[in-house]
């Protein structure tokens, strides 16, 4: 979303409320409910999103007055960030707004960062804008390498970044890949998302992305907002996305978060989910298929088992018999295996494994 458009949206919110005041009505703020009861999985679109339940907050309601005032303060402050073209973190925003409401009042506009965090989410979901659009940055996590050229308009300067020329470190995915970012040239047959940085480094050293003409990404665990947006944008160019994680509930859930989004961020909906993503491995079936892996498994902890059982209860996962089969195996065999174990026979086997999987279309939905 363009900055002008975001500013216009924020001003629109302000004008609506000022209008209400002039009509001698309490200013109101309507936002979809973000509680569990209002999160639904839409099979047709393939990601988690919020349902139709909405709540209306009123300034002239004692229970809501403080939050209401804070929401308006956050909206106004971010509007200023946009106008001044400055970015800050949500913690930076909190400090900008942590001031006393008056000399003789023992109350600050914000006391805790948790207060402002929740309101940022409220604004995102109510206005249909992302926090990145409000010039709020998040922690960067995730690295990319591949044939991709990006133009970065930042701090008044345009820089061209070639992701094929980042050497051993790769290009660190920024918190916002939308505002001021332009993907001018992307040449890739597919996107490969590798859970662990160690495996990414392995594949980078093997020049895997060059040989296989792919974009190699590691989210380094759960994918950050920026990484998810980057994958989304690449998928939007029609490039297939494959995900490669540890063989356990946690690794698999990283895949599912990339694919369908998570409960906590269900309000983000489509912008942060990639329903077309496919899962390459590691799977429980692989342990059978690749004999050497049998000896490299680890005993699953009770919490791994519990997590696997939880995942089976999610309708968007249990809808896939392949996944249910895998999860049941975890529960039954109580074993798991790390993606690192693929290097057990020889280091370069990782690349062979991926090629084999893609060529044979051995993926899970």
């Amino acid at each position: 979303m363009g900055e002008k458009e975001t500013i216009e949206k924020l001003e629109g919110l302000g004008r609506k409320m000022v209008g209400q005041v002039k009509e001698k009505k309490s200013p109101t703020f309507e936002t979809p409910l973000r509680s569990r009861g209002n999160i639904e999985y839409d099979n047709a679109v393939g990601f988690l999103r919020l349902g139709d339940k909405r709540e209306e907050r009123r300034f002239l309601n004692v229970a809501q007055a403080r939050t209401f005032m804070q929401t308006v303060a956050v909206a106004n402050k971010t509007k200023k960030f946009l106008i001044e073209d400055l970015h800050t973190s949500i913690r930076g925003l909190y400090y900008q707004l942590k001031f006393s409401l008056g000399e003789n009042l023992d109350e600050s506009l914000f006391e805790e960062q948790t207060e402002s965090n929740a309101l940022i989410e409220d604004l995102e979901v109510a206005m249909g804008i992302k926090r990145e659009d409000l010039h709020l940055t998040t922690d960067r996590k995730g690295v990319v390498a591949g044939n991709m050229i990006v133009k970065d308009n930042f701090a008044g300067e345009e820089i061209t970044i070639n992701c094929a020329k980042q050497g051993r470190s790769g290009w660190m995915i920024p918190s916002d890949v939308d505002n001021g970012m332009e993907f001018v040239d992307v040449k890739a047959d597919y996107v490969l998302v590798v859970e662990k940085d160690a495996l990414w480094q392995r594949l980078n050293e093997d020049k895997f992305w060059k040989k296989d003409n792919c974009i190699l990404i590691t989210p380094k665990g759960q994918a950050s907002r920026g990484t998810r947006r980057l994958i989304r944008r690449l998928a939007d160019k029609g490039i297939p996305v494959y995900v490669f994680t540890d063989c356990d509930a946690w690794g698999w859930y990283i895949y599912w978060t990339i694919k369908t989004g998570s409960m906590n961020l269900a309000y983000l909906g489509r912008d942060f989910s990639i329903p077309e993503a496919r899962f390459l491995g590691v799977t429980m079936a692989d342990i059978e298929k690749f004999g050497f892996l049998k000896k490299l498994t680890i005993k699953a902890k009770p919490i791994d088992i519990k997590r696997a059982e939880e995942m089976m209860s999610y309708p968007w996962i249990s809808a896939h018999p392949e996944w249910v089969k895998e999860l049941k195996k975890v529960v039954k065999e109580k074993r798991k295996i790390e993606q690192d174990a693929l290097q057990g026979k020889k280091l370069t086997f990782v690349g062979e494994y991926i090629r084999k999987k893609i060529n044979n279309k051995e993926w899970l939905p």
């Binding site: 001003e11 409320m17 000022v18 005041v21 001698k24 002239l60 005032m69 009042l105």
Partner: protein, 511 residues
């Protein structure tokens, strides 16, 4: 009362008195002093009532010997007593004008002022001093009792003429074995409560400490005069029946006496009684009625289905009167008084319960809360609170429900007046009401009615308080949000306008 009456024949009056002083209210030093004041004050209020005038009385209690001997003086503005019956009125036991009369009155026991005279004689050997001004004659004398003959003895009699505008009785005596106390059982509290229940009267109290408490009258209207009514069979006990039989003159048959001396006793009802109580001969002379017969008859009375007595014999203090008097004397923040129709207990005795509740203001200035002031026919009941149905019922109410969280600590005073020709006292001491189911239920209902009213007031106050806190809470955010709203909307200039509008809205909504 049959015992008292019968007692005269066998013992000397003094001996009888000594034996029965407890029954007569002369038990304990503090209670004795309060009883003495009570007897005189009651007489004064009744006398003024009969003469249809506003009672004005002044009471002095002086210390003669600390915690032992006190001088009591009561002066009223009543009609006074003519010399020829002065002795009988103040010096003859059980000769009071109200004995055997079924009128709703305070004392009902008739021991009255003569009992005080006797107490003075027994405890100090001194007669009492009396000044009576009646119809232009002023009589001053000392008044004692010849115990052997149960006859008054007047000495040092001085007769003078006085103006007809001068009238009233002025009695003074010294009483030993007494003690003055400031608390809830003392003369001060007794007079204060008497003033509350008699808003038509002006009462002044001069305490031994030299304090003067003035309770001026708060209503002009005199209480309705209690009509003399015949007793209802359901309202008497065996002793009452014996008293009536002994006092009744000119009846040859008990049946005729019952028909004439009682209300609602018809020829048919007498026939029913004959069948119900075959052991008792209703054709005998009333003078031959024995205690046993009386008891059997009373049991029989309870089995007959009677027409209820007329309820107009019950005279409450009145809603407005109690309201004015509670405001006048307690200066509370809130007063509510119930006004309920007469009810019937024991299947036939009419009574009225009046409950007044006063909250806040000056009530617990002394730091104690939750006072229950009991009255029977306007007379304060100070003693035997624990055994009294009024106290027990008041304690059984869940005051928390009515926003009175801690009854014993909050500034709340409750007045309960039980008005009836037959107040169901627990004992001859007449200081507590017995737990008659119908009476208890009515007291409870009246208390709850009053409670609901207080609750309304208190929850209204709480809401006001909450509203004002809410208002403050929201108002403190107005400055911040107005600035942000104006900037957010890109209408920086309208900040002042937004702020004013919001303040106005909040003030209106949370006023």
């Amino acid at each position: 009362m049959a015992d008292i009456f019968g007692g005269f024949k066998e013992y000397s009056v003094a001996e009888f008195f000594k034996k029965n002083r407890q029954m007569l209210g002369f038990s304990g030093k503090v209670r004795s002093l309060t009883t003495i004041v009570h007897e005189y004050v009651t007489n004064s209020l009744d006398a003024a009532g009969e003469a249809r005038m506003h009672p004005e009385l002044e009471v002095w209690v002086e210390e003669v010997e600390k915690n032992e001997r006190y001088k009591v003086r009561v002066k009223d503005n009543g009609p006074g007593i003519p010399e020829n019956i002065l002795g009988k009125a103040l010096g003859m036991m059980l000769a009071g004008t109200k004995f055997h009369r079924y009128v709703q009155q305070r004392g009902q026991q008739g021991i009255g002022a003569a009992g005080c005279t006797m107490y003075s004689l027994i405890s100090t050997g001194q007669p009492i001093s009396v000044v009576s001004r009646h119809k232009g004659k002023k009589v001053s004398c000392k008044l004692g009792i010849d115990f052997k003959k149960n006859k008054p003895v007047l000495t040092d009699v001085v007769r003078e003429d006085c103006g007809p505008e001068e009238h009233g009785l002025d009695v003074e005596g010294v009483f030993a074995d007494t003690k003055y106390e400031k608390g809830g059982y003392g003369v001060g509290e007794y007079l204060k409560r008497t003033a509350i229940a008699n808003p038509h009267a002006t009462i002044i109290f001069n305490s031994p400490e030299g304090d003067r408490f003035v309770y001026p009258k708060s209503v002009e209207r005199l209480p309705e005069k209690a009509e003399e009514v015949k007793p209802h069979p359901l309202g008497v006990g065996a002793n009452d029946l014996l008293d009536i039989a002994k006092a009744a003159k000119g009846y040859t048959r008990l049946s005729a006496m019952l028909q004439n001396e009682f209300t609602r006793v018809s020829l048919n009802k007498v026939k029913e009684l004959r069948d119900l109580v075959p052991d008792v001969n209703l054709d005998m002379s009333p003078s031959r009625l024995t205690w046993d017969d009386a008891e059997k008859l009373v049991v029989g009375f309870r089995k007959v289905k009677w027409i209820a007595p007329a309820t107009d014999s019950v005279i409450p203090i009145g809603k407005e009167q109690i309201e004015k008097s509670l405001v006048n004397i307690l200066n509370p923040e809130l007063v509510y008084v119930t006004s309920r129709p007469p009810k019937i207990y024991r299947g036939g005795i009419p009574f009225v319960v009046e409950v007044g509740i006063a909250y806040g203001g000056d009530i617990n200035k002394e730091g104690k809360g939750g006072v229950v002031m009991r009255f029977a026919n306007r007379a304060p009941l100070l003693f035997d609170a624990g055994g009294c149905a009024i106290t027990q019922t008041a304690k059984s109410v869940e005051w928390k429900r009515y926003e009175i969280k801690k009854f014993d600590e909050e500034p709340v005073a409750i007045l309960v007046n039980l008005a009836s020709v037959h107040v169901p006292y627990t004992s001859a001491g007449k200081q507590s009401v017995s737990s008659e189911d119908d009476v208890v239920e009515e007291i409870k209902n009246a208390l709850m009615e009053a409670g609901r009213h207080v609750q309304k007031h208190l929850s209204g106050k709480r809401r006001e308080r909450e509203k004002s806190t809410k208002k403050k809470a929201i108002l403190r955010y107005v400055g911040q949000i107005s600035g942000d709203l104006a900037e957010l909307a890109g209408e920086e200039k309208s900040k002042k306008e937004i702020e004013a509008e919001l303040q106005k809205m909040i003030s209106e909504r949370f006023e």
